[in-house]
Subunit: 118 residues, 2 copies
DNA sequence: TGATTATATCATTGAATGCTGATGTGATGA
DNA sequence: TCATCACATCAGCATTCAATGATATAATCA
């Protein structure tokens, strides 16, 4: 049985991962891996709507995954920490091994559900 | 604008992170970090219900984060890969830096929402 | 075989969450 | 000041998803 402090730690960690656990947010993070971008540039890079991106950016910023900097009318965003990049890279490594499994995991699939039967 | 292959890659990565993005699943993964456990032991370790755990284990297994091994009536689970552990550890490192932000991020908070008003 | 143990599956329900479209706000320039 | 640009915020909707309780399955033992 978990005690309160451990639960809190788990909730924090879950929230951190949650920042990465959405394709739109990942697209934003990926776009920011190479260089800081303003919102309009992120819109172009991802094809997502402006308000959608702004919402996700708010979450990512609140959660400390990105930081923003105002320049005139533009707001530039960048990854808050090099380890954000490391996490993404490590995830890619893991994926290269377990991709088959994730690929077949239809539990959280929003696109479509092909698959066999277990 | 993202092309199809990149989108697929993002969806995969998001699903991978999704395995980590829930306190219950994290509790299960944490329990398995030290040693393989059967379902009953995971129930004890986490305090979650059996069916709840079984559901999460199904997801974790389908997504390739854990592997299972039958031993008599028991099913033992363990982390599928050392890098699963690395990802958890790296997340802890990041948390130690951006914890304040995540802590204040009420967007995905299920426990409670104190906080100031931005 | 029948009882029990260990685990998986299922339907349901309520809550969380992503997306959209409209609107608000602040900065810039005519 | 007025129009415009860049971005943030908000309400509403539709979907996803976690948890529960009941039930099914599969293995073990008497």
């Amino acid at each position: 049985m978990l005690i309160a402090g451990e639960q809190l730690q788990l909730n924090l960690k879950a929230k951190l991962f949650r920042g990465f656990a959405d394709p739109s947010r990942l697209a934003i993070l990926e776009a920011l891996r190479s260089t800081p971008l303003n919102v309009g540039e992120i819109v172009e890079a991802t094809g997502l709507s402006q308000s959608n991106i702004s919402n996700h950016l708010g979450c990512l910023r609140d959660c400390g995954l990105v930081v923003s900097e105002q320049r005139g009318r533009f707001t530039y965003y960048r990854l808050a920490d090099d380890r954000i990049d490391s996490l993404l890279r490590l995830a890619e490594e893991v994926l290269s091994d377990v991709a088959k499994g994730v690929y077949q995991c239809t539990r959280y699939d929003s696109t479509e559900g092909d698959s066999d039967g277990e």
